[in-house]
Chain length 359, copies 2
Amino acid sequence: MRNVGGFIVGQGSLERLPAFVDARRELVGGGAKVVYLIDSYFANQPAIVARLSARTSDVVRYVDATHEPTTDGIDAITNELRGLLTGLPATIVGFGGGTTMDTAKAVANLLTNTGGAADYQGWDLVKVAAVHKIAVPTISGTGSEATRTCVMTNAKTGLKLGMNSDYTIFDQMVLDPDLTASVPRDQYFYTGMDAYIHCIEALAGSYRNAVGDAYSRETVNLCRQVFLADDMMSAEAREQLMVASYLGGCAIATSYVGLVHPFSAGLSVVLGLHHCIANCIALNALSEFYPAEHAEFQTMMTKQKVSLPVGVCANLSDEQYQRLVAATVVHAKPLTNALGPNFRDVLTDERVTEIFRRM
Amino acid sequence: MRNVGGFIVGQGSLERLPAFVDARRELVGGGAKVVYLIDSYFANQPAIVARLSARTSDVVRYVDATHEPTTDGIDAITNELRGLLTGLPATIVGFGGGTTMDTAKAVANLLTNTGGAADYQGWDLVKVAAVHKIAVPTISGTGSEATRTCVMTNAKTGLKLGMNSDYTIFDQMVLDPDLTASVPRDQYFYTGMDAYIHCIEALAGSYRNAVGDAYSRETVNLCRQVFLADDMMSAEAREQLMVASYLGGCAIATSYVGLVHPFSAGLSVVLGLHHCIANCIALNALSEFYPAEHAEFQTMMTKQKVSLPVGVCANLSDEQYQRLVAATVVHAKPLTNALGPNFRDVLTDERVTEIFRRM
């Protein structure tokens, strides 16, 4: 397991980003530019963007997070940046949520390697060390700031798979809870639950290790403090959730998920639902597998007055159900982690379909 | 905060060390040697040493851990290695406890920098990146495998201070709980309590951050599982304590200790007691400052049938008490963390002396 290079944490820590960036400029020399990949949510928030202190000679590129990254989209951004840069940038700052951070990770790999994003979907395929990169998460839960992957959908193959590589890991993180103060409540909850769900799946699995377990336990502990508190978005809770996201990423990088993520992947691939809300919908339908966690999740939703869309799998065609089943049971590793190698004895087509019908 | 580069964990993971080392040999090329610094405890355990797979051309140097590192001792080892090496080694493997790992860290810094160990005691004084280094802890608790310091006593100045530097951090860790199976029970307990004590001090302090707190809580949690279990040395407990040591190191690297470590430092500097047992003796005398933790510590000692030496400060001269006081109150940062900037209002000479008299 490789770790993130380093981090700073705390309210106001964004102030220190320009100094980190300038240190990279100095180290690399030769007037190397800096690339800022910024969630387009901030495109009309000039006061926040100004705090990044980008120079006019730098490249500032907004990333549309309406949809999660695709291999074609990553290639397009990479090529666009190649046109704007002479040589490699001093660093790439990924400022946003999971989509923006994953984009920064993928582009940093591609700028130093030949070919396109699809060539590196898999495990340890990246050959040359990536461009230096800094994560500045503006929403908490995905753990992208900590992990060695960047998830991308390949439209040609339908494959949703990341570049799993030590080179994908960020060199530096800036964890400033001030940045999550304006996240919409529902999104804050769904995304935060990604960390919680990762870790309850990991702790219930059979592929375990002591470091992963420790990270998972503390992540679940922090998520409980946040989502069972009266105000999940207090300054203290936002900082706790930012740490939970980081430690949850560390956890998942050393362990495996279980049943929730495969069902969630089905919802994303077939119905286009975003990862974090799809996780919540999936956990909500999997009470027989995670009874205690399901009950706690319900308590958290009630406490935070958050609801889930219902009937997302109502009125689907048989063909759509078949695709949902296929897109779920293909995830053999996490399903084996949860249920053993004969997971299909439990997860028959009928059972999986019945679970989706509940959503 | 910089993190350790990477790690593997689990029973039998020592088997993978030779592959890591060979990868370094290949990367560096030119027939670079590998330096193995091994706790002299293993000098008559050829079966274990053979598992490191050192080549006859490599440098194997045993480190006497009877005394904790001194600047003179580190300089002597560094000069000895310079004589045995042509160029820099491919990596330095530190195989042992805190003393051996700290020695590996210090030597790795000095091989790439001019001057002696004393020149780098302090903060961020190391100029050139260190030689690559791998930690293989054989006893758990000090957290040396995770921290950015290597503590050394300077006989000339009496100063006990490390080379605090990002360069001091290990590039890789191998956490194999099989290696701690033969540690004497008392030593296992005292050393393990170093992690516990670090973290209860950090959590009671005023200089805090959310990541450090999370690491500290999980470390304390793991220490409770180990030391309140029926058998603190079961395979499971040894793995838990190895993780606690690592996470405790991560915790302390982002936070500050409190009252125990300054008193412990007094015992080490004036009476030559080893760090970990000195911590236990100090905590045992500080019940009014850490009542709950003190009670838990007593329960752990009883449960594990471990005892502490008594009367270590009996029959000392006035001059010795004065030196104990001076060597304690000099630690302004942790004492301020625990008691605020006016800590001397609480810790008068009389009060400190009275606390030492109880030990």
